[in-house]
Subunit: 499 residues, 2 copies
C-alpha cells in the first residue's frame, strides 16, 4: 500500500466517524424539536446504538495502524497531512485509551448525576448533589490519568475543549481581565442611565420569526444548507452541510430570541464556512469550543449590538412591529439592546457581567482540582465570589452553585471557553476593522459580506490547522489577550452609560 492510499483510507475512515456523528446530531435535534412525548425510550435506544457504532468506527484498530504507518514515514509530512495526523492521533488515543468499563461507568454516573441535579436544584439541596460532583472529579482525574495527564488533570479538561490551552494560561488571562473588568462593571452599573425594563409587549411570534429569519439570512446564514426551528433551549447542531439551529420565542421579549438566533447563526456560519469536502477531517473541523464561541459572540455582540447594525435594522424592526414600538424611542431601543445589569444567573447575564460569572466558575474548578477546595465548601466559596465579583449573594443554592447543568455531566474545563471566546471575538474584531476599513458603513447598508469573507478566510477555512492560541496569533499577529475585550467594552458601554 502506498502512503497515499494509506492516507486516503485514513481520511475515509475519519469521514465515516463524522457521518455517524451527523446522524447522532440529527437524532438529538429531532429529539428537541419534533419527538412525540412518549417516544423517548426508542430515541434513547437509537442514540445508544449510534454512539456504540460511532465508538467502534473511531476506535477501529485499522485507524491506529494507519496512523502509525503514516507517522513512521521518513521526513516531514506535507502541511495538511501534519494536521490530519496530529488530530487523528489525538482523537484516536482519546477513544482507545479509555477502557470501555470506564466509559460506561462515566455515562451511567452522568445519567444519575443529571437526575440528581435536576431534583436537588429544584429543592436547592446542595448536600444531596455534592457526592455526584465528588465522584465526577474522581472520574475526571482517572480519565486524565489514562490520557497521560495524571499530574495536571484540569489541564486535560481544558485542553479537551480548547486544544493548546492550559489552566495556567487561562488563569493569567482571567486575572488580567478581572482586574479591570470589575471596576468597569461597577462604573457602568453605578450610572444613572438605565435601560427601562418592560418596554416590549405583545410581539406576535409569526412576525418575530419572519424578522429573525430576514436578519440571520442577511448576515449570511445559508438557509439552503440549514434551518431554524423552535426548541425549549436554543442550540445549533449538525454540520455545515446541514445545519440545524433553534430558538425560543417570547411575545414580551423579542430581543431575546433575536439575539439568541444571531448567536446561533454565528456558530452556524463557522460550520458553514468550512469547505464541504473537508468536513469530517481535522482540516474541516472547528478548533475548539472557545474559537466556536468567538464566532457566535462576535456576531451577537460586536456586530449586532452596534449602532451601525441598528442603523440598518431599526427601520425594518419598526416597520414590522409599528404598533409595539410606537412609544419606544431610538435611544431606548439601543439601550435595551445594550442593557447591563448584574444578575445571579449566568444565562441571563449581559456581555459585560457574563465574563465575571465565568471567572467565578474557573476559580472554583481550579481549586477543586488542586484539592484546595472541598466539595462540601463549594456553596460558601461560590457565594463569596459572587459577592466579590458581581456584588450579589445568592439567596439559595438554586440561584447559586446549583444553577448550571454542566457539572452533572462532568463537564469541567468547559466554562472558561465562553470567556476565552469573548476575548477572541474582540481581538478578531479589531483586527478585522483594521484590515477592512469602513465596516460600519457596510453594516449600516445591511452588507455583512466583507466581514464574513474575512472570517471565512482567516478562521473558518483553517479548520484545525492552528490550535487555539496559534490561531489568534496567526490571525491577529499577537498573543491572545483580554485587553481587546476591555477596550471594546469601554468603547461600547462607557459613552452610552455616561449618558
Amino acid at each position: 500500500m502506498t502512503n497515499d492510499a494509506a492516507y486516503e483510507e485514513l481520511i475515509s475512515r475519519l469521514k465515516r466517524v463524522h457521518v455517524l456523528g451527523t446522524v447522532n446530531s440529527l437524532l438529538g435535534w429531532d429529539e428537541q424539536v419534533n419527538l412525540p412525548p412518549d417516544s423517548a425510550d426508542l430515541r434513547a435506544e437509537q442514540l445508544a446504538l449510534l454512539a456504540e457504532l460511532q465508538h467502534a468506527a473511531a476506535s477501529d484498530p485499522r485507524v491506529g495502524e494507519l496512523l502509525t504507518l503514516l507517522e513512521g514515514r521518513p521526513g516531514e509530512p506535507a502541511a495538511d497531512q501534519k494536521v490530519v495526523l496530529k488530530y487523528g492521533r489525538r482523537d484516536y488515543d482519546r477513544v482507545v485509551k479509555l477502557p470501555p468499563d470506564f466509559v460506561s461507568e462515566k455515562a451511567r454516573h452522568s445519567s444519575k448525576a443529571f437526575h440528581a441535579w435536576a431534583e436537588c436544584r429544584g429543592r436547592a439541596d446542595f448536600a444531596g448533589f455534592a457526592p455526584f460532583i465528588q465522584r465526577h472529579i474522581e472520574l475526571a482525574k482517572q480519565e486524565a490519568g489514562y490520557l497521560g495527564y495524571a499530574a495536571a488533570p484540569y489541564d486535560y479538561m481544558i485542553d479537551r475543549n480548547d486544544p493548546g490551552m492550559t489552566a495556567e494560561a487561562v488563569g493569567a488571562l482571567f486575572a488580567e481581565l478581572k482586574k479591570e473588568l470589575v471596576p468597569l462593571m461597577r462604573e457602568i452599573v453605578g450610572s444613572r442611565v438605565k435601560a427601562r425594563p418592560g418596554v416590549f409587549h405583545g410581539f406576535p411570534v409569526e412576525q418575530q420569526r419572519t424578522f429573525l429569519h430576514a436578519v440571520t439570512e442577511r448576515i449570511g446564514f445559508n438557509y439552503r444548507r440549514g434551518r431554524i426551528d423552535v426548541s425549549l433551549h436554543p442550540f445549533c447542531d449538525g454540520s455545515g452541510a446541514d445545519l440545524r439551529m433553534t430558538t425560543h420565542f417570547d411575545e414580551h421579549n423579542p430581543l431575546n430570541s433575536l439575539f439568541s438566533a444571531i448567536h446561533e447563526t454565528g456558530h452556524g456560519l463557522y460550520e458553514q464556512g468550512i469547505p464541504i469536502e473537508r468536513q469530517g477531517t481535522p482540516l474541516g473541523q472547528p478548533v475548539g469550543m472557545a474559537v466556536h464561541e468567538s464566532q457566535s459572540r462576535l456576531w451577537e455582540n460586536q456586530v449586532a449590538r452596534s449602532r451601525a447594525f441598528w442603523r440598518f435594522f431599526e427601520p425594518r424592526f419598526r416597520e414590522t412591529f409599528s404598533a409595539q414600538l410606537g412609544a419606544v424611542s431610538s435611544d431606548e431601543l439601543y439601550l435595551a439592546v445594550n442593557a447591563v445589569r448584574p444578575t445571579l444567573i449566568r444565562v441571563d447575564a449581559d456581555e459585560v457581567t457574563y465574563n465575571l460569572h465565568i471567572i467565578l466558575r474557573f476559580e472554583i474548578e481550579k481549586q477543586l482540582f488542586a484539592g484546595t477546595l472541598a466539595v462540601a465548601d463549594l456553596p460558601a466559596a461560590w457565594n463569596a465570589l459572587a459577592q466579590e465579583l458581581l456584588g450579589l449573594t445568592p439567596p439559595n443554592d438554586r440561584e447559586g452553585v446549583l444553577q448550571d447543568v454542566h457539572w452533572s455531566g462532568g463537564m469541567f474545563g468547559y466554562f472558561p471557553s465562553y470567556c476565552l471566546g469573548n476575548m477572541m471575538a474582540a481581538q478578531f474584531w479589531y483586527k478585522a476593522q483594521g484590515d477592512l476599513p469602513g465596516l460600519d458603513d457596510d453594516f449600516a447598508k445591511g452588507d455583512f459580506s466583507r466581514l464574513l469573507g474575512w472570517l471565512r478566510r482567516n478562521i473558518h477555512e483553517q479548520g484545525r490547522r492552528y490550535d487555539t492560541r496559534e490561531l489568534v496569533r496567526a490571525v491577529t499577529g499577537e498573543a491572545l489577550s483580554p485587553k481587546h475585550l476591555l477596550r471594546y467594552l469601554r468603547e461600547r458601554y462607557l459613552p452610552l452609560y455616561r449618558g
Copy 2:
C-alpha cells in the same frame, strides 16, 4: 449456552437490526419533511452508511449460528419461538443469499432507472425507458434464483411483499373480482347521478390541519407516539414507538388531504397496535404489504366514507368551514366523498375503479415474467387493457405505462398488494360488523374504540403469527375472497348512484 440464552440473543440481534431501521426511517422522513434543499448529498451519505450497518447487523454470521442452533433443537418449539424462527430464517436467508455485488448492482441500476424514468416520463418516451425495465426483470429473475425461486420468479416477487401468496392465487382472486367489478363499475359510471366537480374552494390550510388532527385523533391515532407533518407525497414511516405521518394540503380540495391522512392513520394504527416490547421481532412486525393496506383502506373507505362517520363529522366539518360549505348540501357532500369517475391515473382513482388499475398491472407483470409479453410491446398491452377495464385509452405513455415509479425500482409484485388489501378490508369489515353489532351507532357518536380494539386483538397484536392468507382465515373463518369487496361496493355505491 442454554437454548433460552440463544433465543434471547437472537431476539436482541433482531431488535438491533430493527432499531437501525428506525434510524433509517427517521432520516427518510426528515428528508421529505425538513431537509434543506442543498443538504441532499450529506443525507445520501448518511442513508448509505446506515444501510451498510443495517445489512451488516442483519447478515452477521452469529445470527445464522443462532438460527441453526435453535432450529436443530429436538421437539416442536413453543408457538412464539416458531414464528420468530420462521421469519428470522426467511429474513436472514434473503440478506445472506444475495451476493454483495448483486445488491450493489441492483441499487446502482435502480438509481439510474429512477432518473431515466423521471426523464422519459416527462417526454412520454417509453422506448428510452424500456431497456431499464428489461434489465430490472433480469435482475429480479436472478434474485429469485438466489432465493430458490428460479422456476417461479414472479411468485418470489409476490411472496416478498405478502408472505404465503402466489401468482396463481392472486390471478384466481383477480379473475373472480374482475368478472363482476367491470359491469358494476359500468353501472355506477353510467348513472345520471354525478358528483358535482369543483364544489370546494378556499379551505384555509390551518383549519384543515386542525380538523384533520381532530378526526385522526378521534379515530384513535396516538399523538403521544406520533405526529403528522407536510410533505409533497403523503406517507407513513417509523414504528409504533414513534410514528411519522405526512399529508399535503390543497385549499381547493379539502377531502383529498383528509382522506389521505385517514389512510395514513390506518397504517399508523396498525403499527401503534403492535405491543412496544415485541417491536423489531417477527412477533411484532406487520405481516406484509396487503395486510398493511387492508388497515389503511378499511379506515379510509369502509369507515370514513360511511353515512355513520359523516353523521358525526359533518356538523363539525360545517362548523369549521361554514363560509365554504354554505352552498353545499348534505347529499352533495356525501356524493363528493363517494365520487366515482374512471381516470387514467391510478393515484387519482376512486375505490371502485382503483382495483381495475391494479388488475391491469398484475396482468402485465405476470406476462412479462412468463415471457409471453415483450417489454417493447408493453405500451400496446397497457393501452388495450386500459380500454377493456376502464373504457379509456391513454393519449400518451406518460398517462399510461410510464405513470408509476414502481418499476424503475424493480418493485414487481408490489401492485397486487393494493387490491388484495381492498379485498381483505371488506372481508374484515363484515366480520367485525358481525362480531360487534351496532358499529354504525358507535361511529355516529364519534366512538371508534370498539372497532379499533377488534382490529388490535385480531390483527395488529398478532404480528407475523399468521401469513397473509392464514390471517384472513384465522380472523374471518373463511378463505380470502373478493366477494366481500364486491358486496361492499354494491351496498355502498348502488343505492347512491341509483339516485
